[in-house]
Amino acid sequence: MKGFPWFGAVGALLIAAAIATAVLAPQIAPARPTQLDLRARLAPPVWVEGGKPNHILGTDNVGRDVLSRVIWGSRISLSVGAAAAILGMVLGSTLGLLAGYFGRWVDAVISWLINVQLAFPFTLLAIFLLGTVGGGFGAVVVVLALATWVNYARIVRGQVLAIRSRDYVLAARSIGVPTGRTLWRYILPNTAAPIVVVASFSTAQAILTQAALSFLGVGIDPSVPSWGAMLNEGRDYLQSAWWIAVFPGLAIALTVLGANLLGDWLRDWLDPRSVA
């Protein structure tokens, strides 16, 4: 193993906890996430002076239970992150593989696409698209995938460029192994490690970016409880009612940490050289 073995376990634990929270939200949340009570607004967490036992993590600026919102918010953050990472991975790795292997016009076209994509400053693109199309779940996933596919494509293309002239690939081609099989059998395994590494970053990045978009006010419809929206709601309260933004921030950080740790562990586990 290359990293610290127990890091993987911590990551798995964090992700498992996050998924369990999302799945069991209706069972474990103490209150409805949209239930508001103006008279009970800005109540601090239970252990702080003035805290109320029915709001363990306090209430937000319209008196909703922060704990319940964090629990329900996990659904949006996790599903958006995972969906965006997978969509970006499928799109990006395929294009990167094709570009690196075939070269010539295929590479030219895909590299042009990559450059077009890279040439758009992503945040501006996201503000532009989500601002005009509106911030539905699908729209946010597609926009986030648009942000990540290039990472896969470039890494995979670079990797393929570096290995396609290696002896074993040249040998396979010279003895007439079909293109599809060469890609699948000899090239793809050598790109798997970087793909997994990028995927671990991308899931985490998608969760963070989604939060940033919500922070800018163009993410998922802010009336749906999500961690990003909660950060946005809490931004003006950091000094007076820190719990509104701190707990969803913590939830984001722990989930992203889990995704990254798990990705690292997967990478080490998948890397043929470290298994050998």
Binding site: T34, L36, L38, R39, R41, L42, N61, V62, G63, L130, G131, T132, G134, G135, G217, V218, D221, P222, S223, E233, R235, D236, Y237, L238, Q239, S240, A241
Partner: protein, 505 residues
């Protein structure tokens, strides 16, 4: 000799940059009393052309400092002579203004009747006529220089709103405006106001310095900086750190945290009337007056004010701002049972209702609270958030189907306030259309007899209040954080008149 030499655009940019460096570097070396007053706002200054004022603050506040108009609106809605010394309505369609002599623009040009003629005519051509409302607002048809210090404004119809629209009709140095490229004009304003323009770093700051030869005496504060700080907590933090003297746009919840040894908080009852607009172009139930009354009874405005607004404002009691409102009108009482009964009576219960909001400060919380009250009377509110540009488009296309959070007009002029709900008003965003109401407002606006006009206006005011075209909320509280070295009474209409401020001690 002009103080702004005719340079090409690039040279001008370098000059401004060099100045900014000069102003920025020797911060510590300036004496404490010379430290400029810094005003921090959420919004960016986009253009400084005197005839393209897009908002009261910060653009309007800068323009008010650099330019003068013939008359100026006081905080209480009365008119104060500025570049005009006196005026009279010589005939119903002719207003005569005597001008202030010996006024000079910052570049040395002299102010006279021809300057007024040039500026007012400029407001009537594109692109300035799209922003400036002087001509359509007053039915102005001709501007005549009678003699160097007298100007006549001729209108096609009698108008009661001449002074109101003149307040924002600013007069710039005519020769400079005529001979300079528009993009240079919009970045380097030359007026006759209490402050001279020094530099502008876009997206960051506009720097002004006192005009020592101002006709009303040099203003007490010598240097003013308008800064653009979009993040609310950053504005407050700068205020507490003493690097900002006026923090604009505080919220009731952040007001407490903005008080410190360096700062205090001042709230004025604003004039912007916050409401949930009710669409007349959307779902059928909203066209029934009983439903609209039910919505007004369903929402506990006083509790929302006590909590979300920190008790810093009052419920709306008219769509006409004080002091011109009818005091006999009273806010709708919170009564969920009555609301439910009205729904039942009208035969529309449990319908789905779009509750839309844009990205205005506080819009989300208010809309969420309103939605929860509507849920409590059995409706199915559906919250929808809109990006700013999209929200404005929806308003202008009257495209909302349910109710939407909006604020109308921080101004003090009953006829201008009432006109927005007439059917042909382009900013009638909820599509209210009632010929009777149109007639009342129209008749009032051409009635020159003040007593008669007041009766007509009151009639229209009472009528529209009863129609419930809005879910009435409150006046938007204007909350300012002020540095402790500054004496300044904020105005209720967003403008900051920094030349009226003084430093303590």
């Amino acid at each position: 000799m002009t103080s702004v030499p005719m340079m090409n655009r690039r040279q001008l940019g370098q000059g401004a940059a060099a100045l900014a460096v000069l102003l920025g570097l020797p911060r510590g070396s300036l004496a404490a009393d010379a430290k400029p007053v810094v005003i921090a706002s959420e919004e960016d200054v986009s253009t400084l052309d005197p005839h393209l004022i897009r908002n009261n603050h910060p653009i309007g506040s800068v323009i008010w400092s650099v330019f003068d108009s013939l008359v100026r609106r006081n905080a209480d809605g009365s008119h104060e002579p500025r570049l005009a010394l006196s005026w009279e309505q010589a005939e119903p369609t002719r207003w005569r203004f005597k001008l202030r002599p010996n006024v000079k623009f910052h570049n040395g040009e002299a102010f006279d009747a021809e300057a007024v003629v040039f500026n007012f005519n400029r407001m009537n051509v594109s692109p300035y006529n799209a922003e400036s409302q002087l001509w359509p607002g007053t039915n102005l048809s001709k501007v005549v220089a009678v003699d160097p210090m007298t100007v006549d404004l001729v209108t096609s119809e009698p108008t009661i709103n001449m002074l109101y629209w003149l307040e924002e009709a600013f007069v710039g140095a005519p020769k400079y405006l005529k001979d300079t490229a528009p993009d240079v004009v919009s970045a380097n304003p030359v007026g006759s106001g209490p402050y001279k323009f020094v530099s502008w770093r876009q997206g960051d700051r506009v720097v002004l310095s006192a005009n020592p030869t101002y006709w009303n005496g040099a203003p007490p504060i010598k240097g003013v900086v308008f800064r653009d700080i979009p993040e609310l907590s950053s504005r407050i933090n700068e205020l507490k750190a003493g690097s900002v003297d006026i923090a604009v746009g505080l919220t009731p919840d952040t007001a407490g945290g903005a008080k410190s040894g360096n700062s205090r908080v001042v709230a004025v009852n604003g004039l912007r009337k916050m409401h949930m607009g009710i669409s007349f172009t959307g779902i059928a139930p909203l066209k029934d007056k009983r439903i609209r009354q039910a919505l007004n009874h369903a929402v506990d405005v006083q509790t929302m004010i006590d909590t979300l607004q920190g008790g810093m404002t009052k419920p709306l009691a008219s769509i006409v701002n004080p002091p011109n409102n009818d005091p006999s009108l009273k806010p709708f009482a919170y009564n969920a049972d009555k609301a439910k009964a009205l729904l039942k009576e009208a035969g529309h219960e449990g319908f789905e209702l779009q509750v839309a909001y844009g990205r205005y400060p506080g819009a989300k919380e208010v809309s969420e609270a309103v939605a929860s009250y509507l849920e409590a009377i059995g409706l199915k509110p559906k919250l929808e958030a809109y990006e700013t540009g999209r929200f404005e488009e929806m308003l202008k296309q009257k495209a909302f189907k349910g109710i939407y959070y909006y604020g109308w007009a921080s101004l003090i002029n009953p006829s201008v306030e009432l006109v927005i709900l007439t059917s042909d008003a382009v900013d009638n965003s909820n599509g209210y259309n009632n010929p009777d109401y149109d007639k009342m407002v129209k008749t009032a606006s051409v009635t020159l007899d003040e007593t008669k006009r007041k009766v007509l206006l009151k009639q229209a005011e009472d009528f529209i209040w009863d129609e419930c075209t809005w879910v009435y909320l409150w006046y938007l509280p204007e909350i300012y954080g002020l540095g402790s070295r500054l004496n300044y009474p904020p105005r209720p209409d967003d403008y900051i008149e920094i030349y009226r401020a003084t430093l303590t001690g």
